[in-house]
């Protein structure tokens, strides 16, 4: 069940270039939320645009709930300027969650898709579950995590300015010698090209893999049917309601990579 909650900004910080982490006091949602889920945010009380802005939860700390975002347009610009104490209207928790299995988790994030992997990373750390975290970006100033292969923190930059030179696939390749990929499960969220690249590797090599998709959302809780993704055809007739097209907000955002036809939505 989802709630509408008037949360309050507790802290706000620029953790990397144009990347902000905000904590909100939201006693209802923070207690219920699981990693992989998201909230749908009203960027300002008088927000005139017809849609809220969906944001993955980046972590919880008691009654505090975190989001990490990049300022890319009118909604996130307002969020960047949130003052401590400001009221923020939230709907959540929304969507499904990551499904951690027996296999070793490899978390892969990039761009605005770092939040749900960061949440899972901290959860696993707290539970003492051994895992890898691979983060990709164009250049150094977009990273906020240390690069430490020993700690299984693998940062990648397209321009090689920090950590591994290359994208997250290169990052993944660097651990192929350490660990058999048939014994791992990937948890992926990031820009569409990144997710698509990982999806191809995962499906091609039959690696277990979950991907958290993103798309435009009007509601975030299943009433508009706007947020569709397309399932891989499973042979049966797909000419049927929610068999061919799934709703990212309800059937996802987390999908099994094998089910996803394309990450470009």
């Amino acid at each position: 069940m989802a709630f509408q909650e008037s949360a309050r900004v507790i802290s706000t910080e620029e953790i990397a270039h144009n990347t902000f982490q905000v904590f909100l006091n939201s006693p209802l949602i923070s207690v219920a939320v699981k990693s992989g889920q998201f909230v749908n945010i009203l960027p300002a009380p008088d927000w005139e645009m017809p849609m809220r802005r969906p944001m993955s939860v980046s972590g919880v700390d008691g009654s505090h709930l975190g989001v990490i975002f990049k300022a890319v347009g009118p909604g996130t610009d307002l969020m960047r300027d949130w003052k401590i104490g400001a009221e923020v209207d939230l709907l959540g928790p929304l969507g499904n969650a990551w499904h951690v299995s027996e296999k070793t988790p490899i978390l892969i994030g990039g761009g605005v898709g770092i939040a749900p992997t960061w949440f899972l990373h901290n959860e696993l750390k707290a539970q003492g579950v051994d895992h890898y975290l691979i983060m990709g970006s164009r250049t150094a100033n977009e990273h906020f995590i240390e690069h430490d292969v020993g700690k299984k923190l693998i940062m990648c930059t397209d321009d090689g300015a920090f950590g591994v030179s290359g994208n997250v696939i290169t990052g993944l390749d660097t651990i192929r010698e350490e660990i058999e990929l048939s014994t791992v499960k990937l948890f992926v969220c990031g820009p569409a090209p990144m997710m698509e690249a990982v999806r191809e590797v995962a499906v091609g090599e039959n690696i277990e893999c979950e991907i958290a998709l993103e798309t435009v959302m009007a509601c975030g809780f299943g009433i508009c049917q706007g947020c569709t993704m397309e399932y891989v055809s499973n042979g049966e007739s797909t000419d049927s309601y929610r068999k061919k097209f799934g709703l990212v907000c309800m059937d996802g955002p987390v999908f099994n990579a094998k089910e996803i036809k394309t990450c470009y939505l």
């Binding site: 927000w47 849609m51 809780f221 508009c224 569709t228 939505l265």
Partner: protein, 302 residues
Amino acid sequence: MLKVKLGNTEFDTPILVASGTYGYGNEVEGLADVSKFGGIITKSVTRLPREGNPPPRIAETAAGMLNSIGLANLGVEGYCKEKMPFLNELATKIIINVAGTTMSDYIETFEILEDHGGNHVGYEINISCPNVKEGGMEFGVSPDMTEELTKELRKRTGRLLIMKLSPNVTCIQDIGLAAEAGGADAVSAINTVVGMGIDVKKRAVKLHTIYGGLSGPAIKPVALACVHKLSKVLSIPIIGLGGISTAEDVLEFILAGSDLVQVGTINYKHPDRGMTICDELIAFCKENDLSNILDIKGQLDK
């Protein structure tokens, strides 16, 4: 103060939720108390299940949104089996929205619903979906076909029969008059306005189907004009909708001549807005010494 009647059916409030903007009522659990609504109009149901249109299906525009869902729905049989039991228990009135391609389509769906029973109070007939060839638009632009369809459905039900009109016509009054002649209890106006979005960066259309339906505050002036024009020629009631977001918007539609209204796109952002509007309407009645909100219906200076 907010009770209103349509035919013999009394609604607790004049606020209905628009088809396609509230799912089947179960998704909003925890977010809204549906008993405050006059009623819920369900997502269009068709004879057979429909997968709907490929993504992308929605896009934001200035003070509005485009959609091209493509009448994705589980078909009338699935609807009766999976959705009706839950809807029957809801503490609000249910109106089932029906869409189709051909006359026999509409009639078959309709007969299955009537045979199945259920305690819905009526039907809203979508003859105005701009997003699929099979959306009934062929009916919605033709007075003759509208009258014929209304007549056929009228024969088959004692429940409320509401025809939902499209603004994408040269003269909406002609379609409204046809619905009235066919025996409809009311008309709803309006469905979405045909529009299109383009993503310059991608040099691509924003909706897979190229064209979609525009809804939200942007179309409120268009909707008010349609309602007002209809109110000048029809004797059956009008259910007004299009861009309603506030109690003030509701009052505008009532002043323009609506008996009831529907809230649509605003539900996505504020699933509880229909409820808070009701509270504000009650306050308005008290301030203005109205015994019923419809006392101001059509009371426009000039």
